[in-house]
């Protein structure tokens, strides 16, 4: 089949298949409608995009504000905590100081108690001396009484009584010696005049 034949046949077919006629007015109207629809769609899309953009900016701004507020709140909280920590530290220092003072006082008190206990445990040396004095005085007195009553050494006995009274005046032996001397004086008046004078010096 030649090209010419094909061409001829195609033209025949084309003539038979006439396209559906479209009125110019309808076409124009459709094109304008499509155009306006597209414009409207673009406008809506632009508006939507703008809205989305504005929303995003708004959300970002809100987020930023929230973040800022959060930071401010946290800063305030941190400051407050720092202040509370400083107060607690001061209180702790004061308490520590008081505890130290109390411990020191307790140590002093313990030391004092210890010393007092130690002091109380010790025997008074004056008492010992007094006791020894009394024993010595008692011994001398006993010897003097023996001399006077048993050995008949009256003069020596009187001297011993006087010695007891002279050396240990505040002892019971001295009191007894004074009594003995007084008895001797009463019994033998005039014999001990000289001694009496001496005795009166010690009484």
């Amino acid at each position: 089949m030649s090209d010419h034949k094909i061409k001829e046949m195609l033209h025949t077919i084309d003539k038979q298949a006439t396209p559906k006629s479209i009125s110019s007015g309808e076409l124009l109207s459709n094109v304008y409608q499509q155009s306006s629809r597209q414009k409207k769609r673009r406008k809506n899309l632009s508006l939507a995009a703008l809205l989305v953009f504005a929303s995003s900016i708004g959300l970002l701004w809100i987020d930023q504000v929230r973040q800022t507020n959060k930071i401010v709140r946290e800063s305030k909280t941190i400051e407050q905590l720092r202040y509370e920590i400083s107060l607690l530290t001061q209180e702790l220092n004061l308490t520590q100081q008081k505890v130290d003072e109390m411990l020191l006082a307790q140590r002093h008190k313990d030391r004092m108690n210890h010393l007092n206990a130690e002091l109380e445990s010790r025997v008074d040396p004056l008492l010992i001396i007094k006791q020894q004095d009394e024993e010595t005085a008692e011994t001398i007195y006993a010897q003097a009484k023996r001399k006077f009553n048993e050995l008949n050494l009256k003069q020596s006995a009187i001297e011993d009584y006087i010695q007891v009274i002279h050396l240990f005046p505040d002892t019971p032996a001295a009191d007894k010696a004074r009594k003995e001397l007084n008895d001797v004086e009463t019994d033998q008046k005039g014999v001990f005049d000289e001694k009496k004078i001496q005795y009166s010096d010690f009484s």
């Binding site: 061409k7 559906k20 094109v31």
Partner: protein, 152 residues
Amino acid sequence: MYQAYVTTLTHRLLGWSDETEDVVQEVFFSVHKHLKKFRHESSLKTWITTITINKCRSYHRRQKIKETLMAGLRQNARQQNHQLQNTDKHEQLKIMIQKLKPKYREVIIMRYLEEMELDQIETVTGLSKSLINVRLHRGKKKLKEVLDDGVD
């Protein structure tokens, strides 16, 4: 002014389909939209022809996707083959033109119905002359195969 021309060309390029009206509307909408961009490097008719060809190509692409999705191609092809055996040569040619791949149909329509020279076809399609010749040759071969079989 160009409405009749665009309508006829579209009708032919779509294989005398009933969907012409929509594509014509698309063509004029595109013309209206891009008229400011027309640089007068070619005639207005050539420019509109190019737009028409491109819109028809887009239509074919959409149709192809649609047909693939519907998966009814084989059934249609079988029916068409059956029809070919029982119709006259004009009808057979029409069905064959409709069956041809759009890229072959496009150059055959422009060459034999629009009676364009190769230079003009080259301008409006953006294809090289050699490619146009190859497509013309292959298209004709496919048509001849059917028509000659019918004759035998």
